[in-house]
């Protein structure tokens, strides 16, 4: 009992979200004309409270194992929590049912309940310290995502996309749980620190079991971060889901997935002290991850070159970005982990901004097709300017925040030694290829002829404010990058105990 009470003190963000979730469900079932407004306010309030608590934990440098080792609190986890809650908060605040044409007329209560549930699951995933908690929270994130993708229940594409997402995801996590069961069999425990202890003393005899187990677990992680070859669900799901949902899915579950990848590989499979990647002794995990990363970047970028649907384009773009972020995992070092954190932070603002623009265009013109974008420079100058920031940031052009992310990631790889220069070069080449399709979007919006007869876009004040804020978020971090750097450095401690 004391353990539970002690743990609850460090569990405040999640508690705030759970209470918010329950209140939203109750408020929605009570009904009444104020239902929608109340639900939105409750959702925002609980997300703000959770963010506040998480910031408090970060400032205090809280560290410890909670609930008998099910989850841990450490600076790394808290960094991820802040990103995850911020992503949900921004999506709820920015994409209301007012400015998303797809969500008009649908129930808001369930939507906010699902978002709060998704955020809670993301937080649990980023902090999981036990095989059971890992699997359970991964599935919580996944199942909530399936439901959110299926939200537009009258839309056939949305329905097909959610079914495809579900079947693909269930299969990947099914394979993953088989791998987890093998890991349990090899180590006799479900607690990650204890797994690490057993693995560090070495598994006697044949290593094939560990190898197969890890491969299967990587399959589950790969699905969550949409790495090749587990990415097939991504474009259809991003296209079929309502754009606010896509915006959230492109950032939050992916970030949570990277959180658990970091924790699993750094904390369990590698000994940070010796830097031993190769606990199994069978194959180079680094090699496998490099291969995955290169395939992911390249395939994502090449596929995006021919896309005309903005949501599919951004889907492939986010697949490519997962490849860059994997570079941070590969560089098993503090620099690598730090680069991963900063890239995710940058990615949050770039991606949400781009999706906001796509939503606003859809709201006014009813289209997601890039070929309908010409003339936006004339009709919506602020929108185009903001999109310029987002696209250039995604390419990685200084002085925007996307450049900061790429700088760190490439730097971490280069730090690994001359043997890895080719890897960083591949990354840079990919960024150059990506430039083609990001700049193409801008070219269409600014230079292309068309749509002369369409009226200018009337943007609500709130939308314009958010566009400016996101653009600023893309531009300003470079001014305070030393502070961000220090913050990321401080966030690198992983709690190693049970």
């Amino acid at each position: 009992m004391e353990e539970v009470l002690r743990s609850l003190a460090l569990f405040r963000p999640e508690t705030a979200l759970t209470i918010g979730l329950l209140l939203v469900v109750v408020a929605d079932s009570i009904g009444g004309t104020w239902r929608n407004a109340a639900v939105r306010v409750l959702s925002l309030a609980s997300l703000v409270a959770a963010l506040g608590f998480a910031a408090q934990l970060q400032a205090a440098g809280a560290e410890g194992s909670l609930f008998s080792g099910m989850i841990v609190v450490d600076p790394l986890g808290t960094f991820f929590k802040i990103i995850l809650i911020l992503a949900s908060l921004l999506v709820v605040a920015v994409f209301s049912f007012r400015n998303s044409r797809e969500l008009h007329g649908l129930g808001q209560g369930e939507f906010h309940a699902l978002i709060l549930g998704l955020t809670l699951s993301n937080l649990l995933l980023a902090a999981a310290n036990d095989l059971v908690m890992l699997y359970l929270s991964l599935e919580m994130v996944s199942i909530t995502s399936y439901v959110m993708v299926a939200y537009l229940k009258g839309d056939r594409m949305s329905n097909e996309a959610s079914l495809k997402y579900l079947l693909f995801g269930a299969a990947s996590t099914g394979a993953m749980v088989y791998g987890l069961s093998l890991l349990y069999g090899l180590t006799g425990t479900t607690s990650l620190p204890q797994v690490r202890d057993v693995l560090s003393t070495g598994i006697p005899g044949d290593q094939l079991g560990l190898f197969v187990a890890t491969l299967l677990i990587v399959a589950g992680f790969g699905f969550k971060i949409a790495a090749v070859p587990f990415h097939f669900w991504c474009p259809d799901v991003y296209q079929g889901a309502a754009t606010p949902v896509t915006a959230l899915l492109s950032v939050a579950p992916k970030a949570a997935g990277f959180g658990i990848v970091l924790r699993f590989f750094y904390g369990t499979y590698a000994l940070p002290v010796t830097g031993a990647w190769d606990l199994s002794g069978i194959m180079s995990w680094q090699g496998l991850l490099i291969l995955l990363s290169v395939l992911t970047m390249t395939l994502g970028n090449i596929a995006a070159l021919t896309q005309n649907d903005m949501k599919r384009l951004l889907a492939y773009s986010s697949i490519a970005h997962a490849g860059y972020i994997l570079m941070g995992v590969v560089a098993l070092s503090d620099a690598g982990a730090r680069s991963l954190l900063i890239y995710l932070l940058a990615y949050l603002f770039m991606n949400l901004g781009a999706f906001l623009v796509v939503t606003l265009v859809h709201l006014h013109d009813g289209t997601f097709d890039l070929r309908d974008y010409p003339g936006l420079y004339r009709r919506a100058p602020l929108l185009t300017l903001a999109m310029g920031f987002f696209m250039l940031s995604l390419v990685g052009i200084p002085p925007l925040v996307g450049f900061l992310g790429k700088l760190y990631v490439f730097g971490a790889v280069i730090n690994m030694g001359p043997g890895y220069y080719w890897y960083a070069t591949v990354g840079a080449l990919n960024a150059a290829i990506a430039g083609f399709y990001y700049l193409r979007v801008l070219k269409v919006m600014i230079i292309d002829e068309g749509n002369e007869d369409k009226p200018p876009l009337e943007l609500a004040f709130a939308d314009r404010a958010w566009l400016v804020l996101f653009a600023a978020a893309n531009l300003l971090p470079l001014l305070v990058w030393s502070r961000i750097d220090e913050w990321a450095k401080g966030a690198l401690t992983l709690y190693a105990g049970r």
Binding site: V4, S7, T18, L21, V25, N36, L66, F67, S68, G69, M70, I71, G105, L106, G107, E110, A113, L114, G117, L120, S121, L124, D130, V132, M133, L136, S137, E139, M140, I143, T144, Y146, V147, M148, A150, Y151, K153, L163, K164, L167, L182, G185, L186, T187, G188, I203, P204, G205, D206, L208, G209, V212
Partner: protein
């Protein structure tokens, strides 16, 4: 071979045989009923392994819940061909090769690995599992309840017909 071994083989063949029918039967109803026998076989294996609580849970949840739900789903969508995911004829051979290869790998893992030898003799498990739910795995237990809440809300919302504002 002792009696226990015989019983094991009965349940093993029941499980694997029914599973083979599940993936190969032409009619969806046949697959669903074969799945029923698979679940029964697995429950029998659990009993042999001394997992009494789990065997009962398997029967209650998998057979009594999931399978019934699957059967409802099958019956309610009786024009089955509407739900096809693939239009092209899926080749059986590549799938068979992959599946056989996978089985060989898994069998190799099973036989070649030196598994730890701590055995737990069959004993009633319910008490201990209950203790773990409210002790070590408390957070997972509570999180699972949130999962079920969200799945419930989600499934109900997806299926509900009436328009809401």
């Amino acid at each position: 071979m002792t009696a226990v071994d015989y019983v094991f083989w009965v349940f093993a063949i029941l499980t694997v045989g029914s599973a083979a029918v599940v993936v190969s039967a032409r009619s969806l109803i046949y697959s669903a009923f074969a799945l029923l026998f698979t679940f029964f076989g697995v429950a029998g294996l659990y009993v042999l392994l001394g997992a009494d609580f789990l065997a009962a849970a398997q029967l209650l949840i998998y057979v009594g819940g999931i399978l019934v739900l699957l059967l409802f789903g099958v019956m309610l969508t009786h024009k089955i061909y509407d739900l096809n995911l693939r239009t092209e004829k899926t080749q059986l051979l590549p799938g068979l090769i992959i599946a056989t290869g996978l089985f060989i790998i898994v069998a190799a893992v099973a036989f070649k690995t030196q598994w730890p030898q701590a055995a737990r003799l069959p004993a009633p498990t319910t008490h201990e599992i209950g203790r773990m739910f409210l002790g070590e795995y408390l957070l997972a237990f509570e999180a699972a309840s949130v999962l079920l809440l969200v799945a419930l809300i989600g499934a109900a919302m997806i299926v509900r017909r009436k328009k809401d504002a």
